[in-house]
């Protein structure tokens, strides 16, 4: 009996991870059997490296979705451009400092994200529309500033993030993994994590319990934008160049990664580990389909079907009769 109860509690804890874990396993199996030379350390490392940029953006979006009230963030793409434009070009007294660059980018991102939060929470503009308009506005501002000609002067330390530590893990992958573990611990163990989850579950109850709902509801947008800006810096380090429309796919992909990772659309239940798994699923799927020589349209089509399948499996609302 006790064993059964344990198994049940374990299942209810892990059931949100099933689609993502299943997809990774299935894709791994398919690629090992059908594609020669796909499963080697170098290739896996490259996939994980690409996934880590998406993962950091997706973890930011996880905050917004977990805080509930049908929140989402489609402005991450433009914030990544801001991060990629500003971060690598910063020098402090002629010296490059990765940590200070990240800090500056985080502050800029948080300020821009704050506008999103104010629009969504206080003006009650739907998050979809607000963040989409901000995405256009910030991108437009970048075009206005740079006249679409971005120059980037990559610091050596940023490029060094692509170096291998232990096959198949690169420095950037390990950095993102560390962030993931910290955030997951924060969500499950810390007071802020509990407050975030309660805010997502029931705003009214959270307010009555003395939780600063307004600060959290606005703050999550700041966090999301800040993390997207950091993601932009990492993307610049990974690709080695910056142009204005290199991030168009990221907002939608990050949202998809969060949902595949088992974060509930209604809010209140979120997982950073899940979001990283979702990012790996999407990147792996793309690589496998590329290895099969699928055209871009077919890849998009299959990604959509996978997303739809995951939604139908684990993101359905309760029956009206209940």
């Amino acid at each position: 009996m006790n064993k059964q109860a344990l198994a049940k509690s374990l299942y209810s804890k892990l059931k949100d991870y099933i689609p993502a874990a299943g997809a990774i396993a299935a894709l791994g199996l398919i690629s090992t059997i059908l594609i020669d030379g796909f499963m080697n350390a170098n290739n896996i490392g490259a996939i994980l490296l690409r996934a880590s940029v998406l993962a950091i953006v997706a973890m930011g979006v996880t905050f917004v979705i977990t805080a509930g009230d049908s929140g989402l963030d489609l402005s991450t793409g433009s914030l990544m451009v801001v991060g990629a434009m500003v971060g690598p070009n910063l020098r402090f007294g002629g010296q490059e400092s990765l940590i200070l660059s990240f800090l500056v980018v985080i502050v800029i991102g948080a300020l821009i994200g704050c506008v999103n939060g104010v629009g969504v929470y206080y003006l009650k503009i739907p998050a979809l529309v607000m963040t989409m308009a901000m995405n256009g506005l910030v991108t437009g501002f970048c075009i206005l500033l740079t006249r679409s000609q971005l120059t980037v002067n990559l610091p050596a330390k940023l490029v060094a993030l692509n170096d291998v530590v232990v096959e198949p893990f690169r420095k950037m992958t390990l950095l993102v993994a560390a962030v993931m573990i910290l955030l997951q611990l924060m969500l499950t163990k810390s007071k802020f994590g509990q407050m975030l989850q309660l805010t997502g579950n029931n705003r009214q109850a959270a307010r009555l319990n003395g939780i600063p709902v307004a600060a959290i509801a606005v703050g999550v947008y700041s966090i999301s934008s800040a993390m997207a800006a950091v993601g932009g810096v990492l993307l610049a380090g990974y690709t080695g160049l910056v142009h204005i429309d290199m991030t168009v796919e990221y907002p939608m992909q990050a949202m998809a990664a969060v949902i595949i990772g088992g974060t509930h659309a209604a809010g209140g239940v979120g997982s950073f580990v899940g979001s990283v798994m979702g990012a790996i699923v999407l990147t792996l799927l793309n690589s496998v389909l590329l290895a099969f020589n699928m055209p871009a349209g077919a890849r998009t089509f299959i990604q959509g079907l996978v997303l739809l399948g995951v939604l139908i499996i684990n993101n359905r609302s309760a029956k009206l009769r209940q």
């Binding site: 003006l123 871009a296 959509g304």
Partner: protein, 332 residues
């Protein structure tokens, strides 16, 4: 008379219509040619595909949901029709019928995911969106398909009976259908479900059926938009509708359709849609330099959004205060 004025003041579409009027006057002053018949009709025609999507999104929004896949569905219809026109010998009516079936089928898929399988509407259409776009890209990776028959092109670009451009005709058909739909039992139940789904269910409305029907109507709107777009650009373009989806949602919000559903009508949504498509013309006639156009476009869009929402919040605040005052007077 006073009652009537009060009623108009409460009309949720009013801010959008006011915004549109301001932009029209601005355009007319800056560029007197704007209101010339031919220029104005061209403007109407070029914004018609997006406005069709707006009507579809408006319907889905009233039922308490949303649909962000309609723009990509429009692309899929456009691309499929252009492809079939160019590389098959099917008769034109058959091809148009196929386009209609794709529209209705896409709407049905959205509706089943949302109404029957109870997936969150935003996420469900967020997932079907790449499905339609991917199919469109698969059929036609780059713009092409220049075999669209001349009859269709000239039909779309023609002014019927000397006064009725296709743009107005297409939108009028959709609006009349919309009004008939809202007069029917299905339309009434849409408002009921948008207002409060639980009580609509308890009072015996078929929630799933109404939701599916609303999304199928959205798919039909995408078909009309796709047909007009095909005649307008005389070819197929897999990216033609990509930005329509989110713009249409913005238009509907500016148009005063309630965020949670159950409120608003097609007039506000239309005004919101035309507001968005007039912005770019206003920017061009103000001679804003090219690299600043994007920024200016989104700034005006955001200003319109904030204005519409603030007016709405203000009106709500004023109304609740008046009610409180009234009840206090009664108590005394």
């Amino acid at each position: 008379m006073k009652e009537k004025i009060k009623k108009i003041g409460k009309w949720p579409s009013l801010p959008a219509i006011a915004l549109l009027a301001i932009l029209f006057v601005y355009n007319g002053v800056l560029n007197p040619g704007f209101f010339k018949k031919s220029t104005f009709f061209t403007f109407l025609l070029s914004s018609t595909p997006m406005i069709c999507i707006v009507i579809g999104v408006c319907t889905c929004k009233i039922v308490g949901g949303i649909d962000i896949s309609l723009g990509n569905l429009l692309s899929l219809i456009n691309v499929t029709m252009a492809y079939l026109f160019s590389s098959s010998d099917m008769a034109a009516p058959v091809i148009i019928l196929i386009g209609l079936l794709i529209g209705l089928g896409g709407g049905l898929l959205n509706g089943i995911c949302i109404g029957v399988l109870r997936v969150n509407p935003l996420l469900a259409t967020f997932a079907t969106s790449p499905v339609y776009w991917g199919l469109a890209l698969w059929i036609m990776p780059t713009p092409g398909g220049y075999g669209v028959p001349r009859e269709l092109i000239s039909f779309v670009n023609k002014t019927h009976f000397g006064v009725l451009p296709t743009a107005v005709a297409a939108l009028a058909i959709l609006v009349i259908l919309w009004l008939l739909y809202m007069k029917s039992i299905y339309g009434i139940s849409i408002y009921g479900i948008g207002g409060n789904e639980q009580s609509a269910y308890v009072s015996g409305m078929n929630v799933a059926r109404s939701k599916v029907l609303a999304h199928v109507f959205g798919g039909f709107c995408a078909f009309v938009g796709g047909l007009v777009a095909t005649g307008l650009i005389a070819s197929g373009d897999p990216n033609i509708g990509t930005e329509f989806s989110l713009k249409a949602v913005t238009a509907v919000v500016i148009g005063g359709v309630a965020l949670s559903g159950g409120e608003g009508d097609v007039w506000g949504a239309l005004a919101g849609g035309f507001f968005l498509s007039t912005i770019l013309i206003a920017i061009i006639s103000s001679k804003v330099p090219t690299f600043a156009q994007n920024f200016a476009n989104y700034s005006i869009m955001l200003c319109g959004l904030v204005l519409a929402v603030v007016i709405k919040l203000g009106a709500e605040y004023y109304r609740t205060r008046a009610k409180k005052k009234q009840s206090e007077e009664v108590r005394q």
